[in-house]
Chain length 218, copies 4
DNA sequence: CATGAATGAGATTTCATTCAT
DNA sequence: TATGAATGAAATCTCATTCAT
């Protein structure tokens, strides 16, 4: 969707413009889409914000929709890759891995502009079906199964109480999602700021205790 | 489409309507907004679906936005009222109340058309600021504080381990939210169907265990 | 393509507007398309010429293309009907019928605005494939075969010398077409004005003599 | 299309081009204009088809319109020259000359790409007035008067029955025009293929018989 | 109450054309 | 000579909203 970005490792010289333009356009688009919504942002606005003419935007992206799709792909694919890599390479206990992943994800989310993406995706998914496809292909269909499997393995190993992995997945990520949406969409921050990290620690406290196999029952 | 409405006082049979019209319009709007998104639904479509002319819709609602606001208010206010009533009237233990409320909320969500509302709210919030206000006023600002207080009370009573009530609130409702959004927006259902009730039970298993004060520490 | 035009024979009262609008729009469109070409005429221009707003035009015709198609259908269908009727009902000798038809067609063409249509069709056919379909369906596929058959019958009856009916058809209508195109497209009129009728008589003189079976051979 | 013209004597291998470029651009333009129409062909497409960049096309032709004009001039001027030469040099009887010319014209038309030109001219004439001028200047104003004069001479010599020369001109060329347009624009070929030569022979049979002075009357 | 008719104000997208390199 | 980058100027089409009836 995004124009070819031959990001050759060699020759990372200086040649500005042209090379960096698509990214600049996406930056501008993210800014505006997050602030006003996709439908209420005009291509003209994006172009001006990126310091280009409207027509120039179409030089890099074939349609307004492609702008959105490219934006999402650029933002989330790396996170998904990272997460998958971590799951694949580590042989830590499932619960430990889960805790690691949550902390990592949250650290990523904290980067500027990233937190707006999930809200954006949810917001525009119905209107722009392409988004659903991109997001499912790039994130959901890759990460969620991996996490589900991770939970299932924990259960099999006796390190997690016998829960339904697929449903437990919701208990895993839901709180973070709720936190982000509450903040992004409704401006509802807990006292003392957004505190994504505190949220995760609080959540992990509950989650890990809740997932631990029952001792007393034995 | 609509039954004949003879203006004259005779012919008492066919009548009603007129009173119910606004509701019918909202029904049609919900249907369409949920399916296509607010921006992609035209007033004409809503009107036709309600069996009215476009201009007639403006007889009942001053603008397309008002349609959306009215829709949300109608859908969520009762749920919020119910929840608040339950919290106020019951003097059950906090954790018990929490479990009750989650089960109740989920039962409500299962009614046709209701589940689409949260997704709709999230989707249009940025574009239609009025939605944020309505939703905050009708739901969030009433229910969330009540729940937070409930958690805090549980902590104070020693029935809940010492967690941050505001953040824990996210752990409480997040999984349900995640479940609904995954299903509504991405069409991701767990194996064996949506199973909202199974989700809640799975979630409560983890949550209640996770919130319970630590025994072994002693 | 054109909006439904319930032109009931009863109640032909006066109710202007709305009823006559589509036709007014087509009139304006014909004027402009003929003068500037389809591609170089904007919907705005058509609308203004018809005394409407741009959007109102879209109330009656779903697209600019539909405007063109409707225009052609309205203009040529009656002529084709007339011609076919004449062929079917008359049992005159083929050559007589042919002469009749040519004279009738030319009389029709002389009506204001009609002569521009063939030129318009030829001009825009490549750009708007719909035109080709409409024109073939409404005119060519109906009239040409009828004429071909007529010629073939004349040959069979010995009233026309043994020529190829399909190719002879070109000799029949080509001169009129050339006359119209030369005038419409290049502004080339013969001395003394367009003189469509004189053209036909001149052409018929040649054609009838040329088609008559050879006498000397006997 | 045109033979390679290596200006320099050295370096005969890789080179050429440069000189032939404009012609290659016109070749590409003809191809595309004929297939899609002038308005629907972008300069970019022409450029790519000619193996150049868009900007390079502007090196050879000052505008898109100039492309079209050049195209037509290149294609039709030789035919007109040929026809005029034939008329001027031969002292055959008018009817014989006319027959010769028609056969020659048709042979020319059969060359690839040529038949599309008349249709193209007709199509774009209204939109691009320059075309009308070019075509009139290069073809019509030179060839048509010559043919008219030829017919008049035939009449004067008693070899052609007393017809109107200008109008008879339409009877002369119209059938060929009709044949070409029917085929090019509507895809209507007679049974057994396009058969331009068969068309001419059939037409000449009728035409010559039709133009011959009446014998029986005498 | 209800509607058909009408419109003003955009939004996306396309392209011929220019220019620095 | 050649090009990639950029843009100004439109053109089609959409829609929320109004109003006379």
């Amino acid at each position: 969707m995004a124009p070819v970005q031959t990001k050759e490792t060699r020759v990372p010289k200086f040649r500005r413009r042209a090379e960096a333009r698509p990214d600049e356009v996406l930056d501008a688009a993210l800014q505006l889409f997050a602030a006003q919504g996709f439908a209420h942002t005009t291509v003209e606005q994006v172009a001006r914000a990126a310091g280009l003419s409207k027509a120039a935007v179409y030089l890099y992206f074939p349609s307004k929709t492609a702008l959105l799709a490219g934006l999402i792909k650029r933002a989330v694919a790396p996170v998904a890759d990272l997460a998958l890599g971590q799951i694949a390479q580590s042989d830590a206990a499932p619960l430990v891995l889960i805790a690691q992943m949550l902390r990592m994800a949250v650290r990523r989310l904290a980067a500027p502009g990233v937190m707006a993406i999930p809200a954006l995706v949810l917001r525009e998914a119905a209107a722009v079906p392409e988004i659903v496809q991109v997001y499912r292909a790039e994130v959901l269909d890759r990460v969620l199964p991996a996490l589900t499997t991770l939970i299932a393995r924990g259960v099999a190993l006796g390190q997690i109480r016998p829960v339904d992995p697929e449903l437990t997945l919701r208990s895993l990520v839901g709180p973070v999602l709720a936190h982000v949406l509450l903040a992004e969409v409704f401006g509802l921050h807990p006292e003392g700021g957004l505190a994504l990290d505190r949220l995760v620690e609080n959540h992990l406290t509950i989650l890990l205790a809740g997932l631990a196999p029952e001792r007393t029952t034995a």
